[in-house]
């Protein structure tokens, strides 16, 4: 089989000319394209072009020369942490699955509910095989033989690319029964969501596939022990799985040599908001906010950088004083800021923070699944607080109440959607307490957006 892969590789390399020599990095000094190495270069509908870029070689290596434990060790060595935002070590997550004769599952989280993030969308549309190969390897490492790709309905194009890639992989016996003659089976089922932010949360995905409302479930038991249909289940993000083949092909140490200790490797970011050139880039972790701004072409003409926001609607932020802060799991955590899934919003000094917060908190109130009171009622209450601020009716007492409510939501909500409110308020007040106070005590809006209109 490896001969077959090599033959395809040679054939394609001879026929494509210099198509693969393109260098798409936006700024040749800072961008480092590992996960995006094929995006916009290969034809996503051609499995041969993927193979020509060393595709499915990692799978071959894994199936014929490694044990599941070897794979997990290699991923641990790489330092890879989940790219969905929480930053949970991937190798460790995989090792939680106890080998048993029960059916095991793996779920690729392709819900990408963060609005302002197109990382998983770009990967699936432009390089669908990398995530599929990563998923088969993850299945081998954890003993799963069925994989679900839970994809949001808003991504029909990504779904088409993935479905086509799955068909091609099956036709070449790289997926399905007895893969490459190794005796290993793995099947992939595409599963379409139906428009619910909470269905990106891992236990909600499980509810959704089980045909229930997309409410989250209590943990423990963790999905690795008791997940889909009560069977051991590993849930990983598209970007996380997409990098797995290259880690296995080039070794964990290779991946760990990029980025910084504790935040190894690269991360894809969608740079949006008030930048001159919003775009999707891939940089080593440890890159600073200032460097990201430069990659985005700088702030708009005549405007100053105000805030770097990660996530949305579950937002956390950093302010102007943090512009040289490197993007790392540990430094961010200290400031209660999430690295997030890679969706980022840059605000300039023309944006009123109260309006921006109101927009996001209102969205959370819409998306709250309603299962627990701290979040269901808390997100509504928080929206009303921001309305009061914008209309000039909030008091300093309300500000204290908001802080208390955010802390209560952090401590008492059942899932990450409500819990994150604590970090949201903490990070907003850390950098922008003066803007809150100006609005509430002095009835002054430095952007001239408040007090004369109803919240947009």
């Amino acid at each position: 089989m490896i001969q077959e892969l090599n033959r395809i590789q040679q054939e394609v390399l001879q026929s494509v000319g210099n198509k693969f020599d393109k260098d798409l990095r936006h700024d040749k000094t800072k961008e480092l394209r590992i996960k995006l190495k094929n995006a916009y270069i290969i034809d996503p509908y051609s499995i041969d072009e993927y193979i020509a870029r060393d595709g499915y070689k990692a799978l071959h290596k894994v199936l014929f020369s490694m044990t599941p434990d070897d794979v997990i060790e290699e991923v641990k060595k790489s330092g890879l942490k989940g790219r969905s935002g929480g930053g949970f070590p991937t190798g460790m997550k995989w090792s939680f699955v106890k080998k048993s004769d029960k059916q095991h599952y793996i779920i690729m989280n392709a819900d990408e509910g963060e609005s302002a993030a197109t990382i998983d969308g770009v990967l699936m549309r432009q390089d669908p095989h990398c995530a599929i190969e990563g998923m088969i390897i993850a299945g081998f490492a954890t003993g799963a033989t069925i994989g679900y790709v839970y994809i949001r309905y808003e991504y029909p194009e990504a779904q088409r690319a993935m479905e086509h890639a799955i068909e091609q992989a099956i036709a070449k016996n790289l997926l399905g029964k007895n893969i490459m003659g190794s005796g290993v089976d793995f099947d992939i089922i595409m599963y379409r969501g139906a428009g619910a932010y909470i269905c990106g949360e891992e236990t909600s995905i499980i509810s959704s596939i089980e045909g229930l409302r997309g409410n989250s479930k209590n943990k423990p038991p963790f999905p690795a022990i008791e997940g889909l249909f009560n069977k051991p289940t590993i849930i990983n993000n598209v970007e996380t799985l997409g990098i797995v083949p290259q880690i296995l092909l080039n070794g964990g140490e290779w991946f760990a040599s990029m980025g910084v200790p504790g935040s190894e490797g690269t991360k894809v970011f969608t740079l949006t908001g008030q930048l001159k050139e919003p775009k999707t880039v891939e940089v080593p972790l440890g890159t600073t906010i200032r460097e990201l701004i430069e990659l985005g072409g700088g702030m708009r003409e005549g405007r100053q950088f105000k805030a770097f926001v990660t996530g949305s609607p579950n937002i956390t932020m950093l302010g102007p004083n943090d512009i040289d802060m490197p993007i790392q799991f540990d430094t961010f955590k200290k400031r209660q800021v999430m690295v997030g899934s890679g969706g980022t919003v840059f605000l300039d000094d023309s944006t009123c923070l109260m309006h921006f917060m109101h927009f996001n908190v209102d969205l959370l109130a819409i998306e709250s699944c309603g299962r627990c009171t701290p979040c269901r009622a808390g997100t509504r209450k928080m929206t009303q607080f921001f309305e009061k601020i914008i209309e000039g009716e909030a008091t300093m007492d309300d500000l204290q109440k908001m802080k208390d409510l955010a802390e209560h939501m952090r401590d008492a909500s059942l899932c990450g959607l409500g819990v994150a409110m604590g970090m949201t308020m903490y990070s907003a007040l850390y950098s922008f307490e003066d803007e809150f106070v100006e609005h509430i005590r002095d009835k002054h809006c430095r952007c001239g957006k408040c007090f004369n209109e109803v919240a947009a």
Partner: protein, 158 residues
């Protein structure tokens, strides 16, 4: 709205292959939404019967997810993205413009059943914001003028 026995029968045949799948409920609701442009109670009953679950459970799913509707979507579906990146590019204004031109409130279907105006929550094209999807065609970097033009063309042909 009334549904013919025939339409319901066609639907039933389409979903029977899913009847023993433990993961089958969401896919069959999708099939209903596609066939009827909504998931009417009549279809919910068929689903409940075939999948051997209560109508309440089916209805619970239909009402939980934004994508499923109980009243039929219009012949034209316009979806303006108000995800965060598009919001930052003033897409709420585009939504207001669409609402005014089409004479329908955001999230609603016009009484004549011709158009539905939906609120999008990110199409994964954030670097090109603001984005609008019209009858499954994605339009990127949409200006107010372009939007008016697209919508007027729709109305001309309808």
């Amino acid at each position: 709205m009334e549904y013919t026995q025939e339409a319901l029968q066609t639907f039933k045949e389409a979903i029977v292959p899913y009847k023993d799948r433990p993961d089958g409920l969401l896919p069959v609701v999708h099939i209903a939404q596609e066939q009827f442009r909504c998931v009417p109670v009549a279809a919910q009953k068929v689903i409940a019967e075939v999948m051997n679950v209560s109508v309440a459970r089916v209805s619970g799913i239909v009402t939980f997810y934004d994508y499923f509707t109980m009243t039929p979507l219009g012949n034209h579906v316009i979806e303006v993205c108000v995800g965060t990146s598009c919001y930052m590019q003033e897409s709420k204004h585009l939504l207001a413009v669409a609402s005014e031109v089409l004479q329908v409130a955001p999230g609603e279907t016009r009484a004549d059943g011709e158009v539905s105006l939906r609120i999008g929550r990110c199409f994964g094209r954030c670097e090109h914001s603001p984005n609008v999807e019209i009858d499954h065609t994605m339009h990127l970097h949409v200006s107010e003028q372009e939007l008016r033009q697209y919508l007027n063309n729709l109305e001309d042909h309808s």
